[in-house]
């Protein structure tokens, strides 16, 4: 594998999964919700795209639906499907706190996965839907990977702009208030439930579109691509980059993708050594995760930076208090 391929891969998957991490950042760091079922919204988008764009079933096909629609309809449908899934799963559950919400979202994702695996009529069960329809690039077909990378990058940028726009407005302020102290926020008239619901369902849309893009790239949607591993991958990426910032979400994702691609790029002689490398990758990832959670280096850096700003701005301040958060 050459350097160019490596960078392209990292750019493509880094951008694609960054969308998921950004959505998680929006939901967790700003909305205060722990979503352990992230993969389900991704999968809903991917499957929706595949189903909408594929040919109707024939012959030995086990699946039931196929509409043969153009790709952009598939993408729109993907966003809509993820949105709908978020509405259904978010509605009854968002009033749950912390770990309880984590568990329900996790359970919903596993239910969805189980349905995809067992209900052949949806997506051929464990076999999945192969030959996912891709847009026709005509003469540019040779550059399709480049085009997809560009598309993923654009999607990521669009998602960043969308979330930033929302967060910088009074809406974002109200969101922060609700996350900081829900009781006080209610005392000034903030509808915490409505805000959280909106955040949850809105952030699902980019996740669904990312799923559609992923389906186009892999040309196969199968349940084993959408397991809880994806959810944990996104969570680890989020934590590694520092949960709070948008830039951190992107950097964390790219770093994690690069790390995994690096391990995959090494030509191993035996299956066994490849396995061991994969295991080491798991262990290192887990350790990094634990370390970052424990020592929270990003928080400390952020604190140092704000403290420095404080002392330069104000000349007559009382002694700065001990900790920021």
């Amino acid at each position: 594998m050459n350097i160019w391929h490596f960078f392209l891969s990292v750019a493509l998957y880094g951008s694609l999964f960054s969308v998921l991490t950004l959505a998680l950042n929006f939901q967790y760091a700003r909305g205060g919700m722990i979503n352990f079922g992230t993969v389900a919204y991704f999968a809903a988008g991917a499957y929706a795209y595949a189903i909408i764009t594929q040919e109707p079933p024939s012959g030995l096909d086990q699946y039931m639906f196929g509409f043969g629609a153009p790709w952009w309809l598939g993408v729109a449908g993907a966003g809509a499907a993820a949105f709908a899934f978020a509405v259904v799963t978010g509605g009854p559950t968002l009033r749950l706190r912390g770990e309880y919400l984590a568990l329900t979202t996790f359970a919903f994702a596993e239910v969805f996965h189980s349905l995809l695996l067992n209900e052949r009529r949806i997506g051929n069960g464990s076999v999945g839907l192969p030959n996912v329809s891709r847009p026709d690039f005509g003469s540019l077909a040779a550059y399709d990977t480049l085009i997809y990378t560009g598309a993923a990058f654009l999607l990521m940028v669009a998602t960043i702009l969308l979330f930033r726009r929302i967060l910088r407005s009074p809406y974002g302020r109200a969101l922060d208030a609700v996350r900081d102290d829900e009781v006080a926020a209610k005392a000034i008239g903030k509808d915490a439930a409505r805000l959280r619901f909106q955040v949850f369902v809105l952030s699902a849309i980019p996740m669904g579109i990312a799923g559609a893009l992923y389906a186009m790239v892999t040309t196969l949607v199968a349940p084993n691509l959408f397991t809880a591993e994806v959810t944990f991958f996104v969570w680890i990426a989020l934590v590694l980059g520092g949960e709070r910032t948008i830039l951190g979400a992107v950097l964390g994702t790219v770093a994690l993708v690069a790390f995994q691609e690096l391990v995959r790029a090494v030509p191993f002689e035996s299956v066994r050594s490849a396995q061991i490398a994969a295991s080491i990758e798991e262990v290192v990832t887990g350790l990094l995760f634990i370390i970052v959670l424990r020592w929270q280096p990003w928080e400390k850096l952020a604190r140092k930076r704000t403290a420095k700003c404080q002392t330069t701005i104000s000349s007559s301040t009382k002694s700065p208090s001990a900790s920021l958060l």
Binding site: P170, D176, S321
Partner: protein
């Protein structure tokens, strides 16, 4: 001036077996519009519970609470603030990730808080006007210099003033304050007192729970004394000061303590 602006009608509140508020007949009293009511009583009198009942955090076990005829007891807690009722908390509750100025800004019912407005960006003009009002309020409470600071830089008393400013931007008709002088140094207390007097003069109805009677009696125009969840006395500060039953209640509490 209308009587029966805010009315407690035979209100009781039980927590399991304990009847915290309301004797056999329940607690009943009414507050005139624009009055400055002090709610006092020895420890365990049920002041906080009554406060929480009026502000909608707790729902009464029986009885009704009415604001200008609207039954507060039927309204959802989150919407009470929309009726013009504002409150502060015993320990100041502020938003740690927002700056001092933002803490006040977020208090207002902002058109920009709708998702559509946030997306379209149509909130900037309104927000700028709001920022001007917020700075005025920060001036009033003496925090104008700290507008850009993090709330962790503020002292307890300053946090209290911030909470007040945050409610004031909502222009509440009825403003409830829960032990506002607790942990506040005397100079800031004076400032708080004069602020409350200004609000009173401007027509806001004020209900203040306080242990610091010296502070309260200077500025309130009506005082309600509770004991064991029931109404012990009601009147002007002077009347209450000389009320034998009240003195006995406080002395009795001191002896028992």
């Amino acid at each position: 001036m209308s009587d029966n602006y805010l009315v407690l009608d035979k209100v009781t509140k039980r927590f399991a077996a304990l009847k915290a508020v309301g004797g056999d007949d329940g607690l009943s009293f009414s507050i005139r519009k624009g009055s400055f009511l002090g709610l006092v009583g020895p420890n365990g009198a049920g002041k906080s519970t009554t406060f929480n009942l009026i502000s909608g955090v707790l729902k009464p076990t029986s009885g009704r609470i009415l604001l200008e005829g609207v039954e507060l007891t039927q309204t959802a807690t989150a919407s009470i603030s929309g009726l013009g009722l504002g409150r502060t908390f015993q320990t100041p509750r502020v938003f740690g990730s927002l700056s001092v100025l933002e803490n006040v800004l977020v208090g207002a019912d902002n058109v920009g808080e709708g998702l559509r407005a946030a997306l379209s960006g149509r909130w900037r003009k309104a927000d700028a006007a709001l920022a001007a009002r917020a700075m005025e309020l920060l001036e009033r409470v003496g925090l104008a210099e700290r507008a850009g600071h993090r709330v962790s830089d503020l002292s307890g008393g300053e946090l209290r003033m911030l909470e007040v400013a945050r409610q004031l931007i909502r222009e509440p008709r009825v403003f409830l304050l829960d032990e506002p002088t607790a942990g506040v140094d005397p100079m800031l207390q004076k400032k708080l007192g004069s602020l409350l007097v200004e609000l009173h003069k401007a027509g806001t109805t004020l209900i203040v729970v306080e242990h610091n009677l010296h502070f309260l009696f200077e500025i309130a125009d009506t005082v309600v004394v509770l004991q064991s969840g029931q109404l012990l006395a009601e009147g002007t500060p002077d009347e209450i000061r000389s009320n034998k039953k009240v003195i006995a209640a406080y002395l009795g509490a001191e002896h028992a303590a």
